[in-house]
Amino acid sequence: MIDPRAAIIGERLAGVRRIVAVTGGKGGIGKSLVSCLFATVAAERGLRTGLFDLDLTSPTDHVILGAPMGFPSEEHGIDPAMCDGVRLMSIAMFSGSTPAPLRGAALTGALLELLAITRWGELDLLVLDMPPGLGDTALDAMRYLPRCEYLVVSTPSIVVRETVRRMVQLLGERHASILGLVENFQSGDVAPSHELAAEFQLRWLPGVPYDKSLEAAIGDVAGLRRTDAAKAVGRIVDELG
C-alpha cells in the first residue's frame, strides 16, 4: 500500500520561494513568538508570508496573533486563514482548544495530511514554527522539507543552551542550512549564546530583548508590531534579506 501524500508536497510548496523553520529543540525559548513576529514583520515589509504552526499538540500561533480559528474554506484543498497579512495554518483550525494527544506516528500522519492539502499559493516566505524536542516533527521536516532553512533560537540560560546545542549538532550533521542563531530573552549586555554560535560557526543574528510589554500585546498584531521585541525581529528580517 502506497501513501500518496508525500508525492504532492513538492507541488504544494512549488510557489513558495523560501521556507524558514524556527527551531531550538527546547520549549519556552520563544520559537512561537519569534515565528509570529518574523511572519508579521515580513508581511509588513510587503513579503507574501505564510506561517505554519507545527507544534501539533500545543499550537499557540493563533493565540499570539489573535486569529479566530474555524474550519478553513476548501476548494481544491484548504486555504490558510488570513490574519493581518499572514497566511496561517494551524491544527487549531480544526480542533480549536480540544486537547488532541498525538503519539509520534499520529504527528507524522497529521503533518503529511496538512502538507498535502494546504494551498499556500505564491509566497515569498513560509515560516515553520517547530515544536520542542528532537522528535517526529523535527525528523519529518528534515525528511519531507529538505529545502528548509533553520533559524535557531536560544536564550541566555545555560539550561537552554545545553538543549539547543543538541539540535544545532543534529542539524549540522544532517547538513541542514542554518541561517543563524537568535538569542531571545536578552537583558543587559551579556550574550552567553554567542559561544554556541562561535562553536558551530553560526551567524550571530540580532538578539531579541526580554520585553515585558509583550504579554499585553498577545492576540493583537498591531500591538505586537509596536513592541521592542518586534523591532528586534525586524532587524533579523532585514539582515537575512
Binding site: M1, I2, D3, P4, R5, A6, A7, I8, E11, F71, P72, E74, E75, H76, G77, I78, I91, F94, S95, T98, P99, A100, P101, L102, R103, A105, A106, L107, G109, A110, E113, L114, A116, I117, R119
Partner: protein
C-alpha cells in the same frame, strides 16, 4: 471539496510509481479510502478523473476502483480492537475535523471499553493506493 487535493496526491503518486516501474499506460488503480475520512467513493472517483492531466497518456485512461475501508482502532491500554461509529459517537464538528485530519480522532473518539484516547489506527485512516496495473514499456 478538499478531496481534489487528495486526488492530486493520488495522481502524482500513481505517475511516480508507474514511471519507476517503466509503465507506458496505467490501466487500473485500486484506491482505498479510510472510513475515518468520510469521503464518498463516487465523489473521490469524480475528483480523480477531474484532476488527472488529459495530456498525460500514462494516466488519461486509467480506471480507478475506489473502496471504503472500515475503521479499526486498537486501544493501547486495554489492547482491545474496536470500530467506532462516527454517526453516533462524533458530532458534526468532530466528524468534519476528522475528515480534514484523521489523526484528530484522538481528540474526539474514545475506547468503548476503557474510555482512553490512546489508540492506534489499525486501518481505515485516509487515502492509500492498492494495486496499480499497467502496460510495461518495451
Amino acid at each position: 471539496m478538499h478531496e481534489y487535493a487528495l486526488a492530486d496526491a493520488v495522481i502524482a503518486a500513481v505517475r511516480e510509481t508507474a514511471r519507476s516501474q517503466r509503465m507506458s499506460r496505467v490501466l487500473q488503480v485500486e484506491v482505498r479510502i479510510g472510513q475515518l475520512q468520510s469521503i464518498r467513493p463516487a465523489t473521490f472517483e469524480n475528483a480523480l478523473t477531474a484532476v488527472r492531466p488529459a495530456s498525460d497518456a500514462l494516466v488519461s485512461s486509467t480506471e480507478f476502483s475506489v473502496v471504503t475501508v472500515p475503521v479499526r482502532l486498537r486501544c493501547r491500554p486495554c489492547n482491545r480492537e474496536y470500530a467506532p461509529d462516527l454517526d453516533t459517537e462524533a458530532d458534526e464538528h468532530a466528524t468534519e475535523a476528522i475528515h480534514f485530519v484523521p489523526e484528530l480522532a484522538h481528540a474526539y473518539l474514545r475506547c468503548p471499553h476503557c474510555d482512553s484516547p490512546d489508540f492506534d489506527i489499525v486501518d481505515g485512516r485516509g487515502v492509500t493506493l492498492g494495486r496499480i496495473e499497467g502496460e510495461i514499456d518495451t
